[in-house]
Subunit: 235 residues, 2 copies
């Protein structure tokens, strides 16, 4: 065991440690996945946990979240939004640790996670087959999932889970997975096309063993316009 490092930073009152943790969602063919890291230090050594770590004193919370995400999973330039701050007193057995949780959405095609990640330490898990998680990370993950389900109803969020160009069937599938219910194809298309939130491209799917579907892209401008005036995305 190595000797203890010096403790140079001194305060009049005790201070909680401050961390960030990130719930990274991605969309598989069939379901929502979340990225977990296997801990190689105590406490909870060997257990799976959300990516995250201590906030440096010279970086903002979001900067800390992005830095940890890149260090631990290789992911960068992704959609990231603050979720909630968890401050239960005993959530970390070592000492008082307050964590600011974020959630992130990525598309599996666009970001090469495996290449920059030690595969032994990071992996995607289906939300239905989660291992035991360290700390209160199961609680955080549940909160993130609920937020995503709730948010999708009144904001055009979620496109970050898809590749840049996608079929309407992919988009519908994404909503079905997030909302956990089936949607009617014709009504879904009417609604999505009607609110002009996607733009038709002149490309179609390739290498499929059936009629190839048209590809669409997300329309940034419509997004902006609709986001502001608190619109209704009930589908």
């Amino acid at each position: 065991m190595r000797s203890k490092p010096p403790k140079k930073f001194q305060y009049e009152y005790p201070r909680a440690a401050l961390t960030v943790d990130i719930v990274v969602f991605a969309l598989d063919e069939e379901e929502l996945k979340v990225m977990l890291i296997q801990r190689d230090l105590q406490p909870y050594q060997g257990q799976w946990a959300l990516p995250g770590g201590f906030v440096h004193v010279d970086e903002t919370l979001e900067e800390a979240a992005r830095r940890e995400l890149q260090e631990e999973t290789g992911l960068k330039d992704i959609f990231l939004e603050q979720l909630f701050t968890f401050g239960e007193i005993d959530r970390d057995p070592r000492e008082r640790v307050v964590t600011v949780a974020y959630y992130a959405l990525v598309n599996l095609e666009g970001h090469d996670v495996q290449a920059s990640t030690d595969a032994r330490n990071a992996a995607w898990f289906s939300l239905n087959e989660l291992p035991d998680l360290a700390f209160d990370h199961a609680t955080i993950l549940k909160a993130a999932h609920e937020r995503l389900r709730g948010k999708v109803r009144y904001q055009p969020i979620g496109f970050e889970l898809l590749p840049e160009k996608f079929t309407l069937t992919q988009l519908q599938h994404m909503y079905e997975v997030i909302l956990d219910r089936e949607l009617d194809k014709r009504n879904f298309r009417k609604k999505v096309l009607g609110m002009e939130i996607v733009q038709e491209t002149d490309e179609i799917e390739k290498d499929v063993a059936h009629r190839a579907a048209r590809l669409y892209r997300f329309d940034e401008k419509a997004y902006e316009r609709l986001s502001k005036q608190g619109f209704n995305f009930e589908i």
Copy 2:
């Protein structure tokens, strides 16, 4: 100037200080008000600020918010919900301070604020006539207002701003103030009564110089039922 206190608490890495700040909303006859405290210490001495203060190492974030609220304004047992955590690096000129912001809703009749408050230090301000605020509290206040406006659309929130028994006109007025637009009386009543979120009482208004209105109370059970299934309160 007093001598510096001892700094007994020592850490390997520098730590941010952790505070809570609370945006307390109340409903006046005419408009939304927010409670501010006049600071009697540096920095920003004499300026108005949100109630709040440092989180003790042995209390949760919500406990800290409730404690500060009671100490500074006398308010207790009120609706309180976490808003957002602000971690910009220079938001406090002294050192790195991360603050977990909450917002609260109170009804002016039910809670005697003045009695337990040093009137020189705490006061209600109209949202349209705010003084310059200390720190980044103007940003926090704006975020709280937006959250309230957004939340009211899809959750039956806001009843905390009214007394236990209220008239439908008071309820409508509350929504008009929060949403900042006029609502049609007949349509409003149809909608509110239709979703069975309020219960008729057998009491009526007193001491009014016109026909007395029936009093209603908020229906907890309907609230629970509707809250869960993410319902739509667009009015």
